[in-house]
């Protein structure tokens, strides 16, 4: 009798199983507070048919590993599903799954938890066939961060091309197209942007164009609005919020110097608003 029962269990319970994987987020991932991230998991039906398969996105609320479905109520901490019709448990769109069929489920989740907290996130898959064992993906640790210090320069050099000596107000070629943009990226704290520079030098000729011959503007493509660049660090713009482009324009006054290639550097500084200037 014992052998018959055991045999039945093998035939009906072990023939199909759920092969699961967590595609996103990677482990470990950092996310800015009150921003969304994607959870994406895949399940394969193996060994036979799996009937209807469901995935539940979970996080660790009461234990070290995920044990609680992510909230669907907006604003809930530490996460809530930010979708039109939020569901922590979703059914595979291709249900019922037949042997070797797979499905992929995605959730968009908002990280509302406290700053500097870490959470484990994973997906539990189960089948409507009670004989098929539930299977949980591996977990990813999510760290919730305060705003970042994140900006981009859309250019890495200024090409004045060929200029004659003793010429003034030579505009940088990118001025017209507003190429010299500084972007404070989405998710960044408000930033204070500063600028300074070095002399343009030609070491072979031992000649230089002093830094003050370079001028810059943060308002318009008009030389008269420009300031002389100097060794001293000065603000370009203070308290620049995220998702903002700050356009700059440059001009060069060429003094009577030897012909040749001149090298120099412009430094752009990003500092979190309110912190000490450079």
């Amino acid at each position: 009798m014992f052998y018959i029962v055991n045999f039945v269990w093998i035939v009906f319970a072990q023939e199909s199983w759920l092969e699961v994987s967590l595609e996103l987020p990677d482990d470990p991932t950092n996310v800015v507070q009150n921003r969304t991230f994607t959870v994406n998991a895949t399940v394969y039906c193996r060994g036979g048919d799996c009937n209807n398969v469901y995935g539940t996105v979970r996080y660790n609320f009461t234990s070290p590993n995920p044990d609680t479905p992510v909230n669907i109520t907006q604003g809930e901490k530490p996460f809530f599903i930010q979708e039109a019709t939020p569901l922590s448990m979703k059914s595979c769109p291709s249900n019922p799954l037949i042997a070797d069929e797979f499905c992929n489920i995605t959730w968009i989740i908002n990280a509302t938890g406290d700053i500097n907290t870490n959470w484990k996130v994973g997906v539990l898959f189960n089948s409507s066939n009670i004989g098929i064992q539930d299977n949980h993906t591996k977990n990813s640790t999510m760290s919730i961060l305060s705003c970042t210090l994140d900006f981009s320069l859309k250019w890495d050099s200024i090409d004045f091309e060929s200029l004659g000596p003793s010429t003034t107000k030579n505009a940088a070629p990118g001025n017209l197209d507003k190429k010299y943009n500084i972007s404070v990226n989405d998710g960044s704290c408000n930033l204070d942007l500063y600028i300074n520079g070095t002399d343009l030098t030609n070491t072979t000729l031992n000649s230089k164009i002093s830094v003050g011959n370079l001028t810059w503007s943060n308002t318009t493509d008009d030389y008269s609005t420009s300031y002389n660049l100097s060794y001293t660090i000065v603000p370009i713009k203070i308290d620049v919020p995220q998702s903002t482009n700050v356009t700059t324009w440059y001009w060069l006054n060429v003094p009577p110097v030897y012909a040749g290639h001149y090298n120099g550097t412009i430094f752009i500084y990003g500092v979190k608003n309110g912190e000490s200037p450079p």
């Binding site: 987020p25 482990d27 470990p28 991932t29 950092n30 996310v31 800015v32 921003r35 969304t36 991230f37 994607t38 500097n116 760290s143 961060l145 305060s146 705003c147 970042t148 210090l149 994140d150 900006f151 981009s152 320069l153 250019w155 890495d156 050099s157 200024i158 090409d159 004045f160 091309e161 060929s162 200029l163 004659g164 000596p165 190429k179 990226n185 989405d186 998710g187 343009l200 370079l214 998702s243 060069l252 060429v254 009577p256 110097v257 030897y258 012909a259 290639h261 001149y262 090298n263 120099g264 550097t265 412009i266 430094f267 752009i268 500084y269 990003g270 500092v271 912190e275 000490s276 450079p278």
Partner: protein, 215 residues
């Protein structure tokens, strides 16, 4: 005079810059714990992340711009290459769907033992070292990070102060050493006493055996 003439009479054009392709530069970073508490005898770890969403790599060099005198600040690592696929962790950025890796950096801070309790600030500079152009005006982004450190009295000093005698760490150590010596001598005394009792008991037992045999 000749030089001046040469300068002013140069008629041919010259190149200020001959650059190839222009790249965008991204500098991303976050400090995981900007405000930290530290005990005067201990060090504290500040965790930072750095990333670069662009393909083009650059090097980041960390240095101390401002710090209280004689404070020890160590970066691990202090210089590293950064692009979107370098780093131990990932950062989910709201403005890109790409997988971006982030480089984890630890900053260890140890206060000077003579520093008084209170709030201190440390400013760290992150220099971006881009591949140098042969000619031209390079544009280099830099970042500065300010940390607020709340220096607390160490537990050791606190304990002594509560006993109404302010002692330095060294004196506290001496004190403990003295205590240890006293304890050691007490143990020796106890051991000697034990040996004495055992000897007496052995003597009594021997006498009893002799009496018993003779009787």
């Amino acid at each position: 005079m000749v030089k001046v003439l040469l300068k002013t009479l140069v008629l041919f054009l010259f190149f200020i810059l001959l650059s190839s392709a222009v790249y965008a530069i991204n500098v991303g970073s976050v400090v995981k714990n900007e405000f930290v508490e530290i005990l005067s005898e201990e060090s504290v770890k500040i965790s930072m992340l750095f990333w670069n969403i662009e393909e083009e790599s650059y090097t980041v060099k960390l240095s101390v711009k401002d710090a209280p005198k004689n404070w020890l600040i160590i970066f691990d690592p202090s210089e590293f290459v950064l692009n979107k696929s370098i780093g131990e962790e990932y950062i989910d950025l709201p403005y890109t769907d790409e997988k971006i890796k982030a480089k984890a950096v630890n900053v260890f801070v140890k206060a000077d033992t003579n520093s008084k309790p209170g709030k201190y600030f440390i400013v760290i500079r992150a220099e971006t070292k881009l591949p140098q152009k042969v000619n031209g005006i390079n544009v280099v982004p830099e970042r500065l990070f300010e940390f607020e450190i709340d220096l607390k009295e160490s537990a050791v000093t606190n304990r002594i102060e509560n006993g109404n005698s302010v002692l330095s760490f060294g004196k506290e150590f001496d004190l403990k050493f003295e205590e240890a010596k006293i304890i050691n001598s007490n143990i020796k005394e106890l051991k000697n006493k034990d040996n004495f009792y055992i000897f007496v008991m052995f003597l009594v037992l021997s006498v009893l055996i002799i009496i018993y045999k003779k009787s």
